[in-house]
Symmetry: C2
Subunit: 397 residues, 2 copies
């Protein structure tokens, strides 16, 4: 049987480590973060797992019995002054599965929140993190080298674990939704169809900086105006090529010199889109390229499009999804839905070497990465029970 | 007769005070600026004017003979590391008129370039600068109080001169164009129709900061997207209401938080337009208000429009313009044109109390406010001769 009381007690316990108002502040390799990792090692041993912290900070608890095995987990560290459940939920739920006797290896993947890099822990586990990347890794806030932090927390020189994909039937991750889809639809469980891919772009537009007074409209090469026209064209054209759940965003616009009475000589745009389907993403990319090409045909300020930081979509495994759907249909009929994950997760890294599936519980108000993040306790407990039901079904399948 | 050699020699002399590469660096009340003011006092006295520096730094040379009188001048200080002609040209040309025996009071209006405020010298002369404004004036670069600077340069406690408008038939100002209209049209002289007015606005758009991954397009309140749509609408609508020489500019866009993967929760736009006609400016303002209103009808992110820093257009005096046209037609037939001034000048302040007119000579490459600013010497000399011819005609008219 699943012990939901102990599961909720474990969540409450971790909320006491690095408490910030009603949330927590546990950046990767901070004293509070290391305290939470040591707590997890002890908790893993208490449920019979063989536990260790590896050379990149992954906390790994190996099941001692026979297979077939599952992998389950998420991350322990948090964004700065963030919520108590983002990541922690999936780790503590995996621990609860092991406690209930399921053949589960439990893992807290290090640094999913990216204080030092980009999925360092899970990439290390699947063999996608080389020494050069480790040498180059710096803290994104203060620029401190990762190696220095690893020395300080006593992890330097330890072996980095590698997963044996042959050991696992699949990897599960329970997580908060970080959106309002479930809440708005009155749903309590989201069975994730896949993790969206992201294609991010820099668009640089070069004009001519000039005085607003002395330069006629006909003479101007206004990089800011070209940027507005280009982004307005994206706004017009993207609905014609996107899918139902596609999103696209201009997060950043930099004009130079960005002064009230000077015509902008340069504009830099950071634009990205997300979808679950590579075909849809290809259509969106084609559309973006056409919009830039058309801008360059019409405008006096040339625009250059550069890709930066693309990730592939990671569909969840059909059999694992089916098992989670059946469990949800039994435990909360009419109160679950299928949905993509718009946010990124360690599961997309694990998907490179084994089948993965994710399960969401609602985020109150859709809030995450903020200390007010929360989920109803009954939804947390239900999430664990659906996860356990899905895992049992999948193992039996 | 006009002594163009002495005029060019005077320009060359002032270029030696605060030389910066091929330009000059003479911010208002700097040692170099004060040296140029003292040089001017001596030069005024040498041509028979009664000269003084007043309590705000205006250098004023009063004609000793009978009227009717003209006022002529411009400014001596420069932007930082700027050109040798911007302002200086009009002062030295006015001095040349006095030297030629014309009944001209010559003035170098203090701080047109705005190191300490907004047209401090000319506003003081027309009675539009009160003590409270002086008390509040600070250096725009380092925040030093104006009173402190006036004490240091020995001007504190001196009387500030007031113009007697009844003394003058009108005020002339020769200036570099600060644009490329004349150069591109192959013209050597521009007879200014008037100085454009400026209406400047802040548009603040309030949305909801959110994660790009977890928030569907339908749920978003993207302040940056609303800004793009609003500015695209301005780009569409303004050509239908503007006049031939209207200009409009979005110089500044600030998104918050302006991060690649976060939906902007706030956008702030600085937008301005310029024209010579109050009616055209009213039409542009009506259009802007309609665009904002329409944005607020359609969009989920409210936009608030606030005026900041409006100036009125200042038409040049028809009789003075006619006199300058006749002189230009005689001295450079086919090589002069009428044009508005898109940039601001002391003449727009003087226009509050007397008729004004301005004359432009070409700026090579349209460059100003930069040390590479320049004008051909023959164009400088022609500018002086057209100014003198126009002034004589106007006095005789």
């Amino acid at each position: 049987m699943i012990d939901t009381s102990q599961f909720l007690a474990d969540l409450d316990r971790l909320r006491q480590i690095g408490t910030y108002r009603t949330g927590v502040h546990r950046p990767t390799f901070s004293p509070e973060d290391m305290e939470s990792r040591r707590w997890l090692v002890a908790a893993m041993e208490a449920v019979g797992l063989e536990a260790q912290i590896d050379g990149i900070g992954n906390v790994f608890g190996r099941h001692r019995g026979p297979g077939p095995h599952l992998l389950a987990g998420s991350h322990l560290e948090t964004q700065n002054q963030a919520g108590w459940l983002d990541g922690v939920l999936g780790v503590v739920a995996a621990l609860a599965l092991a406690r209930a006797g399921l053949p589960v290896d439990v893992c807290a993947y290090a640094d999913e929140e990216g204080h030092w890099g980009d999925f360092l822990g899970s990439r290390s586990l699947v063999g996608a993190l080389d020494e050069a990347a480790l040498d180059a890794a710096r803290n994104r806030h203060d620029g401190r080298p990762l190696h220095e932090a690893l020395r300080e927390v006593g992890l330097a020189g330890r072996e980095r674990l590698r997963l044996d994909p042959g050991r696992y039937k699949g990897a599960f991750e329970l997580h908060i939704e970080q959106g309002t889809q479930l809440e708005r639809a009155g749903m309590r469980i989201g069975v994730v169809t896949g993790i969206v891919g992201i294609r991010q772009w820099r668009i640089t537009i070069t004009g001519q900086q000039d005085h607003t007074g002395g330069t006629t409209m006909a003479e101007r090469r206004d990089a800011g105006l070209t940027a507005v026209r280009l982004l307005a064209a994206v706004d017009q054209e993207f609905p014609g090529v996107c899918a139902e759940r596609s999103v696209w965003t201009t997060g950043r616009i930099l004009l130079e010199p960005n002064a009230p009475q000077i015509i902008p000589g340069r504009a830099e745009i950071t634009f990205s889109f997300r979808d679950l389907s590579p075909e849809v993403m290809d259509r969106m990319e084609d559309c973006l390229r056409r919009v830039v090409q058309e801008s360059n045909r019409r405008e006096r300020c040339p625009a250059v499009l550069e890709p930066i930081g693309h990730t592939l979509p990671s569909p969840c495994d059909p059999a694992m999804r089916a098992a989670l759907r059946e469990a949800a249909a039994e435990l909360c009929p009419g109160a679950w839905a299928e949905m993509p994950s718009g946010a990124i997760h360690d599961s997309q890294i694990l998907a490179r070497v084994m089948p993965v599936a994710m399960l969401f519980v609602p985020s109150i108000g859709g809030i995450s990465h903020h200390w007010t993040e929360d989920t109803k306790r009954e939804d947390l407990a239900l999430g664990l029970e659906v996860l356990a039901g899905g895992a049992r079904r999948f193992l039996a399948g």
